[in-house]
Symmetry: C2
Subunit: 326 residues, 2 copies
């Protein structure tokens, strides 16, 4: 198969190297053999390769900027990111190409980030950071997190990884998912319709679902008002899941224990955005799913797993449903 | 036995209540029965009770302020804190009384705080907090902590709890302890003399040992210079373990990934202390061992365990060695 690996210079993803591809191809066995692989970092290089490309491996921000109509033989697009919101409504993605993302690759790192954020909220770290700016020593005591309750919206790769780590610390995990099929790492699962009834019992609200038209502004002023004052909010999904001005207002009013946010309405956050000055908030720059030491290898392993499924006539494990948007 | 429970109003410890004592006494079985118990919060109340007291239960800051020579029958002092540095050199503690601390009670909470701090340092949280103050978006990527190396100075209750949690995340733990007897939660142990050889390989340096004349300024400018630039420093022991100006200088110079400090040379930190403005540092107000929901019950359980050992002629498990200082 003619595979083209592309990452534009301004992409937040670190480019897959020739060595990384060769290593993953060898690991994959027969399905990894016999491919012709090209690499590119500029629009011009893509235009040049496009007529031959059968499979494209690229980050979503790169895919969005490429004119895929130049690639008539394109059958397969492997995104090196999981969130598909940058590509929705998918009108520029050829309908005849299989669109695959890399969901699941981020589970371990997202799990670590999430338990760190829960421990930080339980320990009042965001408030201590605000106090530090004001040179204020305020001794707020807290206990271990065992017995506290986490509500995790979305228990796919990210949320599942978070649930796994949270339970290691004795946190009670309620997973919010389509249907409410049991999840091996959740104490219980609920549907999104039941979220409002769970919020008043929540210590840690973790948003880890895709951004779609159905989930935009999921955490709005009303739902924030349902959270108890001891609750903390964590967002590792997408900024658009939260009504950001409403959250800032709640933090300013001391209506919450704090928040740890990794994703924002606008990224990079502009210097004049009021979120920089919100109290009891810790801002991280969209890094909660990074894992550079293992990321590209894991994505490529998934690519070959998808290829193998296709060769065997199975549905590839990370095929994107363009109606659902993930 | 005539037991007096005392906590002065300005103590950072939350006072043991009559109900908490009754509950713990009942839990303890026969050894908890038949005691006469009094409570006090002022110097006057202590003076009044002193002639009758056989056992005193109090925090170290309270013990230091009480005139124990007024209590001729005092045989047993159970500290509700583990650090004995406030009482050293013990010249005001009657030599004929057994001095007991509550080491071990803090293990679970200290373990949670420590793994939180390690994850924060691996994720550049202290630097992100500095960036947030400057409204600066800087995307620093990082990976999961598996395979990183923690050096834990002191693997008693605090350090042991930290080692246990760190290993759950695949962190390689080197424990620094007297002698170098193996520790069940450490991958390896070294003596303090070997510390300088371990520092250059350290990702997380966690100080969790008692403050004594032997450990004062343990982390000085020289040892800081032995740490690699990627290393982070965590202190949950005592402020005096670190040459604080030297650490501030290293943080300012960007010589370290960051620091998470819970204890300080002066507490509360005065408003004019330069540490408030040190970059890449997260300050918490001496809360890393708090666990109010379980703390008093655990301390009282230990008190009765000590009583039981004494009744059976064994060495009480948390007897303080006044020469070693812990």
């Amino acid at each position: 198969m003619r595979i083209h690996i592309h990452e534009l210079a301004d992409s937040p993803f670190s480019p897959i190297t020739r060595d990384e591809f060769a290593g993953a191809a060898q690991e994959a066995g027969p399905i990894g053999a016999g491919h012709q692989v090209t690499f590119g970092t500029t629009i011009e290089e893509f235009v040049e390769q496009a007529p031959m490309i059968e499979a494209l491996i690229a980050g979503p921000h790169t895919i969005r900027k490429l004119d895929l109509s130049l690639a008539p033989h394109l059958r397969l697009i492997q995104s090196t990111g999981a969130g598909m919101d940058a590509l929705a409504p998918f009108d520029r993605i050829p309908k005849t190409a299989l669109l695959l993302n890399n969901r699941g690759v981020h589970a371990d790192r997202a799990g670590e980030f999430s338990i760190m954020a829960m421990l930080m909220l339980a320990t009042y770290m965001p408030r201590f950071a605000s106090n530090q700016r004001a040179k204020k020593w305020e001794r707020l005591t807290s206990s271990i997190v065992a017995g506290k309750r986490a509500t995790i919206v979305g228990v796919g790769g990210l949320g599942g990884g978070a649930a796994r780590r949270a339970r290691q610390f004795g946190v009670h995990v309620t997973g919010i998912r389509h249907g409410n099929a049991p999840h091996p790492d959740c104490d219980e699962t609920k549907t999104i319709d039941q979220l409002d009834r769970v919020l008043p019992e929540t210590d840690f609200l973790l948003l880890a679902c895709p951004l779609t038209e159905a989930t935009r502004n999921l955490l709005d002023a009303w739902r924030i008002s349902l959270l108890p004052e001891r609750a903390g909010v964590i967002n590792i999904g997408r900024g658009g899941l939260i009504d950001q001005p409403a959250l800032i207002e709640a933090l300013r009013a001391g209506r919450l224990a704090g928040a740890v946010l990794d994703v924002f309405a606008r990224e990079p956050i502009p210097a004049d955005d009021p979120i920089w000055d919100a109290p009891n908030l810790m801002i991280t720059p969209h890094i909660s799913s990074d894992d550079p030491l293992r990321y590209n290898a894991a994505t490529l392993a998934l690519f070959f797993e998808n290829l193998r499924a296709i060769a065997q006539g199975r549905v590839p494990p990370t095929l994107v449903d363009r109606v659902k948007g993930y």
